[in-house]
């Protein structure tokens, strides 16, 4: 049924043999169990020589510092947000770098982007306050006096830390998508009414200490750990920063990995360009991926290309010039996809513009936005066959950009965009026609021949047939789990509703698809016609299952023997052995329960009588309650069993003919409950009686165990030996129920439920039925398909969110 052992089946991809430093792998690797070995998409840049992450950072810092030292002009390096920039421009070249020693702090008014960067460099990635501050919409930074500003003396900045952007919550694989840090509060989209260029509220608000929590923007409500169809140990790393490795020498990368600045003589001709890409490729499991680039300075010509590139595209070319690269160019607004002269696409862009760059893996098209407005889809087949990375290229002195991979809220409402696309994909899914192969899959008496027939010609299902399929799914599910009453009611009702009203038939004109209708009805009738026998069968099975859960192994054994004899003999009597072991456990529990009673009576000074009966009942109550709790949450078929026919271990008592029981002959007692076992009776019999009962119970248990031992002494199967050892070990504990650990695992209520499940499945199997309900198989198959699709780069799969569509709400 639903017992689910720990999911440990993540299969790490064997990394490349030329394995580099482990940390490098951790940084860039996508650990995917469902690897498509031949697919470049799934491996990342490990083929390139590279140093460790830490070294990367060092170097990144070194590079940018070095550059800054030589070209310390505001024009070349102005990382500020628009507002700040407007002041920067006014203030002229003296503005300086944020990370310069704090000798220069012209104004208290600082834009959020800038301030957050200094936070980035100064704070540990894992400290959530820093994240929170970063997300602050009105993230007004106070005087930076108490904020450490990076200097040459400070340690190198840690990897940029930000939460998974909110729009990625629409991906069914969101749990696998990670930035460097564990996901926390994702930034919500900025929702200021205006996006006027120089009107960031950050600049308008009075300066306050950013540590003040009052500035925190309302956090986006995160779904509380929604169920996922993937295991959590698979991680797809999102792009978080420009690579220090895969960038042209003329570009410097800032310490936080977000800024790119062009340095060097301005070049003429297409020969000279400089591009950079991110460390991590874009996982297609995002469904849609989006990032934004702010043009800090377009220099003189604005020869800036924003887009995507495959891993090995030449860094001396602008994105869009080479094969496997795509770009939107600022100087002419053209789009380029492996072409020399572009195609007219959108407006030009320049200093202060924020260009958004998205890729939609459901259509394998890209789209761009300018200052929060969608320009439109562009390019075909992007990201389909090759991994792509965010990439930016520049050509002239003075050009500089700053990227937002989700560090801050986006200008464009990408969240809405992703949601729309998800709806679109889901609509497509719901428009998928169902075909006749499902009739076989869901048919109640499916066997090998029908399964083989599945591959034959498929015809679309009529509405009636679809209904039949669903009804069969429902009935078989109810039947499997023994929801007898529901099943009966459903089938009765089903006949009423399912068939068209008779009055209609009279006036109904002849339809030409009678054959289809007939076959639909035929399948519909099948379960109904045999309803009686099926119901009897289910009821018998349910009774057996409930008996096991109630600890009444004798009844379970007797009924199984009568109705499903092959079950006990199957696998050389393994099921019988398991049941008999459980029987032994029940006997031991019974004895230990009596002993506890004895002790409690001695301890509390009660001599006997009804009073002690009550006290004992009270003593037991914790156990009862605990079990009832499990009953309700765990197994459903035991509703009745858990009630009147007490789940207490001493529900069964003693065993007859135990000593004569052979491997197949089953010990069965007609009267399974001795009245003396009930608490009230025990109370009346008194201490002496209880002691005697205990003795008897213990002896019976031991005798049963000895028989069991001798019956199976020749069975050397490991699982038999193992179970035997475990079962007998419980004798060593005074109260196995509370001993904890493996002992309680063996004796506890969960063990009964598990055994009952096994028996249920064994019975179903003996009848040639599937051991899990078809519905469950369907669900699992579907989830596995979606997962596989996601891993094979089919972006649409990311928007087929099964837990969301089927399990929530």
């Amino acid at each position: 049924m639903t017992t689910r052992p720990s999911r440990s089946a993540s299969i790490p991809i064997p990394r490349s043999t030329s394995s580099l430093s482990p940390s490098r792998n951790i940084e860039s690797v996508i650990s995917i169990p469902f690897a498509a070995p031949g697919r470049p998409r799934l491996s990342s840049a490990q083929a390139f020589p590279h140093r460790s992450n830490a070294a990367d950072d060092h170097r990144g810092l070194g590079v940018s510092y070095g550059t800054r030292g030589s070209t310390n002009t505001a024009a070349a390096y102005s990382p500020t947000r628009p507002t700040a920039r407007s002041m920067t421009l006014a203030a002229g070249p003296g503005r300086g770098s944020v990370r310069a020693p704090s000798t220069f702090e012209p104004r208290v008014v600082r834009a959020s982007g800038e301030a957050s960067r200094s936070t980035d460099t100064a704070c540990l990635p894992s400290t959530s306050p820093s994240r929170t501050r970063r997300q602050s919409i009105s993230g007004v930074r106070g005087t930076s006096a108490q904020r450490p500003i990076s200097t040459y003396n400070t340690p190198p900045p840690p990897p940029v830390s930000f939460a998974r952007p909110a729009y990625l919550e629409h991906s069914a694989f969101r749990h696998m998508l990670q930035t460097e840090s564990p996901p926390a509060l994702p930034p919500s989209r900025k929702n200021e009414p205006t996006y006027e260029h120089h009107g960031y509220p950050a600049a308008m608000s009075p300066p306050t200490d950013s540590d003040d929590e009052s500035n925190v923007s309302p956090p986006r409500e995160l779904p509380s750990a929604p169920p996922s169809i993937v295991s959590h140990d698979q991680i797809l790393k999102l792009p978080t920063r420009w690579s220090d490795q895969y960038r042209h020498a003329l570009l410097s990368v800032s310490g936080d990995g977000r800024d790119l600045t062009y340095h060097g003589a301005s070049c003429s001709g297409d020969r000279d360009a400089a591009a950079a890409r991110t460390i991590n490729p874009i996982p297609s499991a995002c469904g849609i991926y989006y990032y934004e680039v702010e043009i800090i300075s377009k220099g003189q010509k604005g020869h800036i290309s924003i887009g995507f590139a495959a891993r090995d595209v030449k860094l001396s070319r602008l994105p869009g010039w080479e094969t496997n690269s795509w770009g939107y160019h600022g100087d002419d607004g053209c789009s380029f996809a492996a072409e020399k002269s572009g195609t007219q696409y959108g407006p030009t862009f320049g200093t202060g513009d924020i260009i958004g760059c998205g890729i939609d893996f459901t259509t394998y098209r890209a789209f761009f936005t300018k200052n929060g407005t969608l320009i439109g889809p562009v390019f075909e087949g992007i990201g389909k066959d090759v991994d792509v990375y965010p990439s930016v290229g520049m050509r002239h002195q003075g050009e500089a950009i700053r990227v937002n991979f989700g560090h801050e809220p986006f200008k464009y409402d990408i969240d809405y965009h992703a949601q729309q696309q998800q709806n679109q994909v889901w609509t497509n899914v719901l428009n998928t026609p169902l075909d006749s192969s499902l009739l076989d899959v869901c048919s109640p008496n499916r066997d090998v021949t029908t399964a083989l027939r599945t591959s034959s010609a498929k015809t679309p299902l009529s509405e009636e047939q679809t209904k039949d399929v669903i009804n069969q799914l429902v009935v078989s599910y109810l039947e499997h789990h023994g929801y007898v009453k529901t099943m009966r009611t459903f089938q009765n009702r089903h006949e009423d509703v399912g068939l068209p009203p008779q009055s209609l038939d009279a006036v109904q004109p002849a339809t030409d698809d009678h054959d289809v209708d007939m076959s639909g009805e035929a399948t519909l009738q099948a379960p109904v016609t045999h309803a009686d026998t099926i119901e009897d069968d289910v009821e018998r099975r349910t009774k057996i299952v409930k008996a096991v859960i109630a600890g009444d192994i004798d009844t379970a054994l007797a009924d199984t023997t009568s109705y499903h004899p092959t079950v006990l003999a199957a696998e050389e009597g393994l099921m019988l052995f398991k049941l008999r072991c459980r029987k032994f456990v029940e006997l031991i529990l019974e004895a230990s329960e009596l002993k506890k009673k004895m002790r409690s009576r001695t301890g509390s000074g009660y001599g006997g009588g009804s009073g002690s009966g009550i006290s004992m009942a009270r003593d037991e109550s914790p156990v009862i309650e605990e079990m009832d709790g499990i009953d309700e949450d765990g197994m459903d078929v035991d509703d009745e069993g858990a009630g009147p026919s007490s789940p207490l271990p001493f529900a069964t008592n003693g065993v007859a003919s135990a000593s004569t029981a052979g491997p197949i002959s089953i010990p069965v007692r007609g009267n399974r409950r001795r009245s003396s076992a009930s608490p009230a009776d025990v109370g009346e019999v008194g201490l002496v009686g209880t002691a005697a009962q205990y003795e008897t119970a213990l002896h019976q248990a031991i005798a049963y165990g000895q028989t069991l031992s001798s019956d199976y002494k020749d069975d050397s199967r490991p699982e038999v030996r193992q179970l035997f050892k475990r079962t007998f070990a419980i004798v060593a504990w005074e109260d196995p129920m509370t001993a904890g650990g493996i002992v309680t695992e063996v004796v506890g209520h969960e063990a009964r439920v598990t055994l009952a499940n096994e028996l249920n499945q064994a019975i179903l199997k003996s009848q040639g039925r599937p051991t899990s309900p078809v519905l469950e198989t369907l669900y699992r198959q579907t989830a596995a398909c979606i997962m596989q699709l996601g891993m094979l780069g089919v972006g649409s799969a990311a928007f087929a969110d099964m837990p969301k569509e089927f399990l929530e709400g």
């Binding site: 998928t432 669903i470 799914l473 009055s503 699992r780």
Partner: protein
């Protein structure tokens, strides 16, 4: 294109096993079906047997079903009255739904050969609405064409299908969905969605990989 990947049965079996879904999840899928399709007593039983909280008031299921049965019987007037009893806003805010109900009523008139009433009804109720939207108008035209063919089987399929039980079911389904929506309850049966997703997923995956289809494990 990367070559088709092949996934062996054991590997696939492991993945199936790894899928996270509980019995309770599946129970809720069943409940969703029982509720939306209006199996009231079955839903009640299931709520008890499976220890599931009912997602909606069971009485609302009942009234939904009475309405549906009225529509399937062809008693449109009764259905409209009951929908309005349940929640007058449903028809007020759904002009298309209301039109389809009126159209169904016209169809029933024609079906029973009550031509005079049909004409009168069409002129007084439907024609004014037909002017409201092109969709309504074309539907009205299609329906009126029934008169021309006098319900004969020789009528084109697009017209004679209006007399089929499927047309009643379609209208009933629309009403059902609208009521469910007014109760903020999902209106698509999730089990159907699951089947469709399975078909979609298997088709897509077939292009990319060899894997055991459902029923082949």
């Amino acid at each position: 294109m990367a070559p088709k990947q092949s996934i062996r049965k054991e590997e696939w079996g492991r993945r199936l096993h790894d899928v996270q879904v509980t019995k309770n999840d599946l129970n809720r899928l069943i409940m969703d079906y029982l509720v939306i399709e209006g199996y009231k007593s079955a839903a009640e039983e299931f709520s008890q047997e499976a220890n599931l909280a009912p997602p909606v008031d069971f009485e609302s299921i009942e009234s939904r079903m009475v309405i549906r049965e009225a529509l399937q019987r062809g008693d449109i007037e009764d259905a409209i009255t009951r929908v309005n009893d349940l929640n007058p806003e449903i028809l007020d805010t759904n002009p298309a739904l209301y039109f389809h109900l009126q159209q169904q009523k016209l169809i029933e008139y024609i079906r029973h050969g009550r031509i005079t009433e049909a004409l009168q009804f069409a002129q007084s109720e439907l024609a004014p609405r037909g002017e409201e939207s092109p969709e309504f108008l074309s539907e009205l035209e299609r329906t009126m064409a029934l008169l021309a063919f006098d319900c004969s089987p020789s009528a084109p399929a697009g017209i004679s299908e209006l007399l089929s039980p499927a047309q009643r079911m379609k209208t009933a389904g629309e009403v059902n969905a609208a009521i469910l929506e007014s109760l903020s309850q999902g209106k698509e049966v999730k089990l159907v969605g699951l089947l469709k997703l399975l078909s979609w997923g298997e088709q897509m995956l077939e292009e990319k990989a060899e894997f055991p289809r459902i029923g082949q494990m």
